[in-house]
Amino acid sequence: MDLTLRGVEFAYPSVPVLKGVSFELNGGEMLAVVGKNGSGKSTLIKCINRILKYRSGNISVQREEVKNMGRREIAGKMAYHPQKTSYNFPVTVFDTVLMGRYPHSDWSGDKEGEQRVWEVLRLLNLEGLALRDYNEISGGQQQKVVIARALAQEAKILLLDEPTSDLDIRYQLEVMEIIRRLVKESGISAIVAIHDLNLASRYCDRIVMLYNGVIFSAGTPREVFTPENIASVYGVDASVREHEGTVHIIPKRPI
């Protein structure tokens, strides 16, 4: 078991956000966390890599409690794609991706780091942008660069918070396919917080549906994406169809 969550609770001062979340994740598995705005998706991801300190429950990575791990140790095991990245100063695309190598660097730097950065840039078709200023490329390109940084980190678990929110439909498919291929080929695992239910259904093995900080439903896309669940969680009347083995959600109207 790569990742185990048991009864995780988190509250911002006086506002409870997560109320006893438990699930498990295996190597080679891709899991989507879905739910409406404010349901605790980003908070859950930030608790897993301890950007936020959860109040109770426990989270363990390869049987080791995250609470007892140092920041660098956590970074060696889990890579993170935040919802937003912006810089105060000019930083090139290459240097942004190179940041992902920090957990592998010692005082003298990271010998294989640059090589690895080039490989990732090539994988995501970004090598032509390597010397461009991150602040001057398009929002979609920025998002791919941040994904590249997470991949350069070479972690066992990818934590991706809205990795496709700024991408056009082609890039959405491309990025999700690359992530899925990596997960399946190298046996790593990925947790993706995502709003697009159809992308979640198409690319993820399992779905965790959050509602006000608790797991409303969990299982395969077919089990979770039912018209009843979507109506209860999102307040949307939707029909669900199967096409070529994939569940498709067609939202109709707000209830």
Binding site: R71, Y87, F89, D95, M99, Y102, E127, L131
Partner: protein, 359 residues
């Protein structure tokens, strides 16, 4: 198609190698310029010396008077400018990074004024280093007490701002405003002390507010060196952390950086090197703001290059300003703080103007 791509890739790799080489060349060029200005600065002055005379004096087989001029006056002055310029520039660079604020610097955040107040307090109220004789020859007897108070003064300001930032969740702009407010408060407090002080102590304090490279003796330069250089070594060792912090607080934490500690140690060391330079040389404005921004424009934001090149550039600016200040109207020596501010304020205005254009 595949071959095309391989070629394209290696071209990108080559471009990146050129891009890095260019940064190293900029650093080497500035270093050479610093060396040239340092040599000129040792030569220039009311007694003009040739390079031959300097070499003789350095090895102590030249004219006795030349030896005294070089060992006791020019060399300490040049080294003080180099070390202080280096320290202030890197302090500014690190503060801009850890506070995530392009306008942060020892001067705008009130550290310099805090250190100035601490020094004034030590001199006037506690009588540390009572000034002997008057005018330009005012010498502080006990620089160590003054350094300590200067450091304490600089800490009061910065700790207040950091505490406000943490508990009142100040924005970047609000932090600069708070820094300017603290700076003004310290300046007012210094003036208040001066108002009630004896003339001779006032003279001693007034020189703080100008900044003067000529004030540092050999021991002072050694102390500045012993505090500034280890701090610079720490900053260089933390270069990767600073790069990662550029990506934002959450990204840095997720990549394994202890952001709270990095910020705290960075601000404390930046305050320490600022306060020693203020304690020994007085307040030198804007080097800390100007140098890192100019260097960022030339070599970009990668701290592996930004920190050492800012250090060299800060030294070059301060040494250049000091050399101009004492050669422009000989035998008069203008306070260097005036020249650095004349150079710094236009750039500060330009930065504000440029920021406006982004919206």
């Amino acid at each position: 198609m595949k071959e095309d791509r391989a070629e394209h890739n290696s071209e990108a790799v080559r471009q990146y190698a050129r891009y890095k080489r260019r940064k190293v060349l900029v650093g080497l060029f500035l270093l050479a310029a610093l060396f040239a200005v340092a040599v000129y600065s040792v030569c220039a002055g009311s007694v003009r010396l040739s390079i031959g005379q300097i070499v003789d004096a350095l090895f102590r087989h030249g004219d006795r008077m030349h030896e005294v001029i070089i060992w006791n006056i020019r060399l300490p002055r040049v080294l003080a400018a180099i070390i202080a310029g280096m320290g202030l520039a890197v302090a500014g660079c690190v503060m801009q990074c850890v506070l995530r604020n392009p306008l942060a610097s020892p001067f705008t955040m009130g550290i310099s004024q805090g250190a100035g107040f601490g020094a004034a307090f030590a001199i006037i109220v506690l009588g540390a280093g009572a000034a002997q004789s008057a005018g330009l020859a005012a010498i502080l007897n006990n620089p160590y007490a003054v350094v300590l108070f200067a450091f304490a003064g600089s800490l009061i300001g910065i700790v207040t701002i950091l505490a406000l930032a943490k508990f009142a969740r100040l924005s970047a702009q609000a932090m600069v405003l708070a820094g300017i407010a603290m700076g003004t408060l310290f300046s007012a407090a210094t003036m208040l002390l001066q108002y009630f002080a004896e003339d001779i102590k006032v003279a001693s304090v007034v020189f703080w507010t100008f900044g003067d490279m000529g004030r540092a003796g050999k021991t002072d330069v050694l102390i500045m060196f012993l505090i500034t250089v280890p701090a610079l070594v720490y900053f260089m060792l933390s270069r990767w952390e600073y790069n990662v912090l550029e990506g934002g607080e959450e990204t840095a934490k997720a990549l394994g950086v202890n952001t709270e500690r990095l910020r705290l140690v960075g601000v404390l060391l930046a305050s320490l090197i600022t306060s020693v330079s203020v304690a020994f040389l007085g307040i030198i404005g804007f080097i800390g703001l100007v140098a890192p921004h100019m260097v960022r424009r030339i070599v970009g934001g990668d701290h592996r290059y930004l920190i050492p090149i800012s250090a060299i550039f800060g030294s070059l600016l301060l040494l250049g300003a000091d050399t101009i200040s004492r050669t422009i109207m000989p035998p008069a020596v203008l306070p260097v703080g005036i020249l650095t501010s004349f150079m710094g304020v236009p750039l500060f205005m330009y930065l504000i103007w440029k920021k406006r254009k982004q919206y």
